[in-house]
């Protein structure tokens, strides 16, 4: 080890009256099989360690849209500190409701979610200054894996569908965001993740 990592506070803890925090998430996101991410083509912002400017998938791969219904989509999403012996880390947890249960859904979604490793991009309702805080990336470092999954036949919430919970443990960063140049450019990059491989 040649140097100490810088883990200092670099700003006042105060409120930005022009960009107050707003709770919650938008109803849609993009989920990607983590093995499809081209990490060698990922570009971090030179001036902001928690911002990814470019997130590109491998050739022939695509991201899949996740849409949640209700007034509190992805309800139960949390990021919590995990105290370690030498270094602390973060645990990110995201529940996803799949309001269906048929052979197609079970084969193509539930069984995949149960055994795969994923990266998920969700849209915060709090956009932050210039929209820098809108697109939050989960699972970039360790990958999101299923930590729970239930299909309760008489559930009033899932109405016989599935509730899957994805979890990333030991993430070194509290949050990672996708942002490049401005909101419009970032939105196009987010949409482009869903590009069909064969046009």
């Amino acid at each position: 080890m040649t140097k100490l990592c810088e883990t200092l506070i670099k700003k006042d803890i105060s409120f930005d009256c022009d960009a107050m925090s707003v709770k919650g998430l938008e109803a849609d996101g993009v989920i990607v099989n983590r093995s499809d991410v081209d990490f060698s083509a990922t570009v971090f912002d030179d001036n902001a360690k928690n911002i990814v400017k470019q997130l590109v998938l491998k050739s022939g791969k695509k991201g899949y849209e996740v849409v949640q219904l209700g007034n509190t989509p992805f309800t139960g999403t949390t990021s919590t500190l995990a105290v370690g012996t030498y270094r602390n880390s973060w645990t990110h947890e995201i529940p996803i409701a799949v309001l269906a249960n048929d052979p197609d859904v079970c084969e193509n979604i539930i069984d995949g979610l149960a055994n795969g490793t994923f990266v998920l991009i969700l849209r915060n309702k709090a956009k932050g200054q210039q929209g820098k805080g809108e697109y939050q990336i989960f699972g970039f470092y360790q990958g999101l894996v299923a930590s729970a999954g239930t299909n309760e036949k008489y559930s009033d919430e899932t109405e016989g569908g599935w509730l899957m919970t994805l979890q990333e443990t030991n993430s070194p960063k509290s949050a990672l965001f996708l942002f490049d140049t401005d909101s419009a450019t970032t939105q196009q990059k987010y949409e482009a993740l869903k590009t069909e491989p064969n046009g």
């Binding site: 470019q54 590109v56 450019t185 482009a192 491989p197 046009g199």
Partner: protein, 160 residues
Amino acid sequence: MKVEDAKTIVEELRGRFDAPFSSSDKAHIVRLYWEVLGKEFKPTTCQQCYHDALIEVYLYLKKYNKMKDKCNYRMRAGFIISCPRFANGKIYTNDNLTDEVAEEYLAQFPKNVDMFQQLPKDFSIKKVQKKVAERNKKQEKPAKKQEKVAEPELEGKVSK
């Protein structure tokens, strides 16, 4: 699919516009959307999304009377062209990318060829750079000719 075939299917579907579309009608609209507009149709939870897609296809055919040119280049998922040094920073995604734009971009930034998952069969950077250079030359020539024609008029006006 030819433009006449597309128009015939659109007219048929317009006849059933006021009622909910059947699953076979929806399949036709998805195909039309791809064939005419070159874009993948993404159904939403909105009940009118197939009707909206049909209107989009109808208006495109009415305005241009042709199918959209298919692009031989396709960028990888997550990548877009948004470079301040290219086309004044205009954003290009797979939806508005054309062969011409892709060629100009790759001629200028050949290293980014890795960001494309689909290229023409006979593609090579050298060929593209040559093609773009020739195209730019051709575009410059008429511009110069126009300048030459305009010059005497200007001189004439000045002499008056």
